[in-house]
Amino acid sequence: MRFAVPVFPGSNDMDAVHAIEDVLERPVTAVWHHESDLSQYDAIIIPGGCSYGDYLRPGALAARSPIMEGVQKAAEQGKLVIGISNGFQILLESGLLPGAMRKNDHLQFRCDIATLIVENNQNPFTGHYQVGERIRIPIAHAQGNYYCDEQTLAELKKNNQIVFKYVDENPNGSVEGIAGICNKRGNVLGMMPHPERAIVDWMGTSDGVKLFTSMLRYWEENGGAE
């Protein structure tokens, strides 16, 4: 299973690269945003960070770069795409996921280890979790206040697209405490928390590991071959 991590100016790409290397021991390539052909990869991880300095709106500029054509195509082919934090914002800005991000309701940047509840394990990213499982995953963002209109929210619920919700405390004011959603088909996931920062105990939590192992298992069970 080959992974690509798109790199925009301002991305924190190495965290995602290291997570794949350390957890899955599979080949992973950091790909500069000028490249639009991602056909050789099986999964794409759009990393966190501040692409283009968060200028205009977080993710807005990156969403219009050549590499997003490759991401779009991969999504259409049913390959796995995950956007983490700024990556989630990019997926929203490029229309691959519905909704939008607003500033955190308290207007401050927030870095913490958030407690999430797994809402859905019927998708490629959460197969190894239990529904209702509480997991601790770091967050670090200024604009993670997910918003969508009521109709979209109803759609998300109907199609089981809400993957993670914050419990105990909603750190940014997002609609219904949403922390991560996927597309209708289930192969594109966006989430504000950082599973790549939760892969060994000394990080404070290793609850992110199962997200990556779930992806690998899904790929293997669906005809993936090394």
Binding site: P9, G10, D15, H18, G53, F109, C111, W202
Partner: protein, 759 residues
């Protein structure tokens, strides 16, 4: 270009004669005798550009002219030191051909007038200092001082400075892993914003700020030069006054995105081995970077200012040279490598330009629209800067304090009341409000999150980790600068030890008032004396730092505040230790001795609104022994938690270990001191440990071998109770839940006051 050209003055600028006759040099911070010196060096009258260059290079900020002789006391060498003071940052070997690079720097004056940008660009500047050494920045720290949060302006300064730090560090993807904040009215008008950066490099990647090889190009990389920050270094070297608000335009504005591009480009150049010399354009911008590279390389430099990328039309040489626009770097590469540099910059969308070359001799020449506009023997700017030894005087307050014993009065306070008061003060309260605005987990290498004694970052691919902290206590230094100086070093070493690391070295930021006041100069000299003694004893050389003088408003100096940034090496990941209690029934041990020492304590400040007496006394040999015991115990796997005793004393240390571990504690002790004095004394060289019952004897053995007092205080519990029994009386009995709440709410509560409520 001809080097036998005459130096020209530009039509709209003051003429050399006007500068002399109207003493215009005074307006840019030069004294009469310094002007005479410049005339002597040049053998003619300087023009406006030249005198301005001397003015910034001879400012305290760039030349350390008032502190240089005192700073010589610091030990700066050691078997691990690869680079001491004098470059962008200090470099210390950590084995396996790796080295850690670190430096702390102040951005106090800019932050006093424009806190957001002032603090942000402080972070930007220190990051550049570290990557200009060839190192990848891996962690940020900061040390902040503000007035009382009851004042609306203080809340504004604090809130904005924190946001500025977050803004810059978070966007750079460098985690802010530790720091400290102190509120005291001594900093009401003159806050302190000190930022520290730590980087990592492989030995062969180490860079220097040097110009060499005649004919080699001098390359400008990064943001364009604008009119921001002109004379920032001079501004930083004078007292704040009511006119300081007018200096807002002298505060630079930062662009962390630009810096991220600059960082990645420089890292690529370092990896390809393209650079001969590299230096950040920080304070005094193009002037300091180019002249210092020239002086260090013992080569001349000539620059064509027409080629400097500019943000605005019609900039004069004076403006170009003194601009402190951020995110700029100056490079010297071998002739022929210019093209590759340009390719790397172009890839990241970064601007670059060849603006000059290295020349024979040591003359520094600037050309502008075909004219020679400066022609200076470069060594006179750097090596021949003036150097002052000011008169010293023991301050009256110091003598008066000799007889003051605050312990008697403070002993009357009920211990439980004292506990609640101390832990809900903004100084002692949880700093979560601050650090959760910082991305402290970027790079996914943070092993000890903020809130423990020191932040710890693991080094990928090795068993090693780096512990680091910033520390300083201006109250102690004010009351006794020698003791305070020792404590600053000893306590930061202790913090690093408590994390399981061996202290490697120090970077320091000396924040003081005006050195021209004999009392202040005495404080400075004495503090450096105390710090040097401690550095010698604990074998932690000073490898870099910064001096920030003239921290005064309306004639009132801040507390003398040396801030120490300490870096330590954890040799095995399993040694990483935190302050939080881990397990019920673990025994709680105290290493060290407790005396009646409440001078300058948090309890004294809270009770009386001021400080007096003498601060705690520090015995360096004893300190070293305590530290040795703890490090040995940690390395032998005996320790569950370790926590340095500092402000708030034993009572607060126990409470913090309880609150961060969400465990209860039962403490029982015998003492000849009054309970409140014993529990809140800030005696030095003490560390609180928790250990499993079967390992306690081994720790006691280690302590005995070093002659260190080790007292069993009680045990960790699973109850919601934190209790202290002194001489058989239960003097503190509090619910863990309740104190945690008060402790966590201390700063958020203080920040939520209506903007109209003033004290």
């Amino acid at each position: 270009m001809q080097s036998n050209q005459m130096v020209k003055s530009l039509p709209h600028e003051p003429t050399p004669e006007e500068i002399r006759d109207q003493k215009l040099y005074q307006e840019i911070g030069l004294k009469d005798e310094e002007y005479e010196r410049v005339v002597g060096h040049l053998n003619r009258l300087p023009n406006w550009t030249e005198i301005s260059i001397y003015s910034v290079m001879w400012s305290e900020h760039c030349s350390y002219k008032s502190s240089k002789t005192l700073l010589k006391k610091f030990p700066t060498t050691g078997p691990r030191v690869l680079q001491g003071p004098g470059e962008g940052a200090g470099v210390v070997d950590i084995g396996d051909q790796q080295a850690v690079v670190f430096k702390i720097e102040s951005h106090n004056h800019p932050s006093a007038v424009e806190p957001f940008q002032g603090a942000a660009t402080g972070v930007g500047g220190i990051i550049r200092d570290v990557f200009s050494m060839g190192a990848r920045p891996i962690a940020l720290l900061n040390s902040l001082r503000f007035g009382d949060l009851k004042t609306p302006r203080v809340r504004y300064l604090f809130e904005q400075a924190v946001e500025g730090i977050a803004h810059y560090g978070n966007r750079m993807g460098v985690p802010t892993v530790a720091g400290e904040v102190v509120f005291d009215k001594a900093y009401e008008e003159n806050p302190l914003v000190n930022a520290m950066c730590v980087g990592l490099l492989n030995h062969h990647e180490l860079q220097k700020g040097i110009a060499k090889g005649v004919g080699n190009p001098v390359i400008y990389v990064g943001a364009s030069t604008g009119r921001d920050g002109i004379h920032g270094a001079t501004f930083a070297s004078e007292e704040l006054s009511e006119d300081s608000e007018e200096k807002r335009p002298e505060v630079q504005a930062g662009d962390p995105f630009m810096e991220k591009l600059l960082l990645e480009a420089c890292m690529e150049m370092v990896q390809e081995g393209l650079l001969l010399g590299i230096q950040d354009m920080g304070a005094a911008g193009l002037t300091s970077s180019s002249t210092e590279m020239s002086a260090k390389g013992k080569h001349g430099i000539e620059l064509n200012l027409d080629l400097v990328p500019k943000r605005e039309e019609g900039m004069t040489p004076y403006e170009i040279m003194l601009s402190e626009s951020q995110e700029r770097m100056l490079l010297v590469v071998e002739k022929g490598k210019e093209e590759r540099i340009k390719q790397i910059c172009d890839k990241g969308g970064l601007q670059s330009a060849v603006i000059g070359q290295v020349t024979e001799g040591t003359q520094y020449r600037l050309y502008f629209q075909g004219d020679l506009v400066a022609d200076i023997p470069v060594l006179t700017l750097v090596d021949d800067a003036p150097c002052y030894v000011h008169p010293q005087k023991v301050p009256a307050y110091y003598l008066e304090n000799e007889e003051v014993r605050p312990e008697k009065e403070l002993a009357q306070i009920d211990p439980q009341e004292a506990m609640l008061k101390v832990l809900s003060s903004p100084n002692m309260g949880s700093k979560k409000w601050v650090y959760r605005q910082y991305d402290h987990m970027a790079r996914a290498s943070t092993a000890v999150l903020p809130g423990s004694d020191a932040g710890v970052i693991v080094i990928r691919g090795t068993e090693k980790a780096l512990a680091r902290c910033t520390d300083g206590n201006g109250r102690y230094v004010y009351l006794d600068p020698v003791q305070g100086g020792r404590i600053a070093i000893a306590e930061s070493a202790r913090n690093v030890i408590c994390a399981g690391a061996e202290p490697l070295g120090v970077t320091d930021c000396l924040n003081f008032g005006s050195p021209e006041k004999p009392e202040v100069y005495w404080q400075l000299a004495q503090a450096i004396e105390g710090m040097s003694e401690a550095c010698h004893q604990l074998q932690t050389p000073v490898v870099g730092g910064n001096v920030s003088l003239y921290n005064e408003t309306k004639g009132e100096a801040i507390y003398p505040t040396p801030i120490v940034g300490m870096v330590g090496l954890v040799t095995k990941r399993e040694h990483i230790t935190t302050q939080s209690f881990k397990q019920a029934d673990d025994l709680i041990l105290l290493l060290g001795d407790t005396y009646a020492e409440l001078g300058g304590s948090e309890l004294q400040y809270l009770e009386t609104g001021t400080i007096s007496g003498r601060p705690p006394q520090l015995d360096l040999e004893k300190e070293q022994k305590v530290q040795r015991v703890v490090l040995q115990a940690i390395r032998q796997g005996l320790v569950a938690s370790a926590h340095d005793l500092s402000e708030g004393g034993l009572a607060l240390a126990v409470a913090e270990s309880c609150m961060t571990g969400q465990k209860g504690a039962e403490i029982s002790l015998e003492t000849t001191l009054a309970p409140t004095v014993h529990l809140f004394s800030e005696s030095q060289s003490r560390i609180l440990l928790s250990v499993s019952a079967e390992k306690a004897a081994q720790v006691e053995e280690l302590a005995k071998a070093e002659g260190v007092t080790c007292t069993r205080l009680g045990k960790v519990t699973d109850n919601d109770k934190v209790t202290f029994t002194v001489n058989g009386d239960r003097v503190i009995d509090l619910s863990l839940n309740e104190i945690t709440q008060q402790w966590e709410e201390a700063i958020p509560c203080a920040m939520k006051q209506s903007s109209r409520s003033t004290s």
